[in-house]
Amino acid sequence: MSTLSDAELLRNIAAGDEAALRQLYERHAGWLLLRLNRRCGSQDLVAGALQDTFVAVWQSAGRFRGEGEVAAWLWGISIRRLISALRGHPAADPLGDDVVGAAVPVVNSAEDELLRGVEYGDVGRALRTLPPELRATLQATVIDGLTTKEAAVLLGIPQGTVKSRLRVAKSRLRDQLMPGRTS
């Protein structure tokens, strides 16, 4: 009976099933909380973002498009709730399409593809050769799937800096991972 998939739970939540929301919370809240903790030191902001995430799920579960992992969708919502909190005020429309729709990660280049498959091999080693600020920028944009604007808020640096760091980080990775290729 508790073998419903995440997507099926979302369908039930959209139909107003509170028990389904509870079940989804029990499945996902824990790891989301830990992952948010890795992005922000304030326990209050993280707890608020996680609460907002499941309130948003309750109100807009029907907007899940059914493509991709529910886990990735949930992460996309919660990291954006956290960024809203970091901006000091809630998003004007907490259920806007920018929140719910952008949550499916977009793979947009060969480098991103490589990074997604990051393990203990070459990519991990290459990542470790980067200075910390470049790694943090890569994490926010590629791993978390944030826009440069959102990454700027999360990292507390200007947008232009995010863009330039990202450019440098990607070209260094490319040199290490695909030495034969020129861009």
Binding site: R27, H28, A47, W58, G124, R128
Partner: protein, 271 residues
Amino acid sequence: MTWHLGPELLDRYSDGDLDLARQSAVETHLLACADCRQLTSAKAPQDLLTDIWQGVQIATARPRMPWPLRLLRKLGLAETDAVILSASSSLYRPWLLSLVGAFVIGVGGTMMPATEQRSLYLLFAPLLPAITVAAAYDATDPIRELAAATPFSKLRIALLRTATVVAIALPVVLLAGLALPFVGADAFAWLLPSLTLTLLALTLLTWWTASVTAWVVAVLWLTVVGILRSAQQLSAVDTPFAQLAFAVAALLALAALAIRLTTHHAPGGYA
């Protein structure tokens, strides 16, 4: 899946003890692996998760709306505003107050001698909306906590409550007046004094509690009516001069309220 998260890696991830490359590897894996998500979730602080879940439950609770709100909802009140208002059961008291007040005016009026009927109506009708507004700001109000926990402007909540209460009280008192034969032209004469008293009550509520405000406004109006009655001038309320005086007083009260609001003093201590 070529590998899964071992116990050591899990511990180090939940402690925030991994370098960024490994951390990213763990997080990428977690998105794709439900088993490892479950193991990771067990490492999260369960007390905090319980607290957050309670917050989710409160925020998603949808109590059934009382009938006056459902009526206002049909008349165009926004869903979000209705939900905020319905979170406060104490709105029943002001609504009940306006209904009982109208009933007292009606029944009391028929039992009084004809000469006293007008003063009774003029005494109670303008006071009723002002008192019901004050009652809507009672200190035991659960919406107080809600106001602290929601992104809704506290002022917006305060003024919404006022509008909701008046929207019920005003027609009730007006209908009572129109239905009673002894009221006649006075059925409308009390509207401007009532507006003045309600604005005055809202302004006073930025300083005082609901009960103090209600008493002050009531005593003030009683004094005005008492003076008029002892001077045999009760009918003066209908005159253009008196109505103009009430309009000026209403504007003054509105200006005072606006000053209090712009200095962040919302009625009922919400600010």
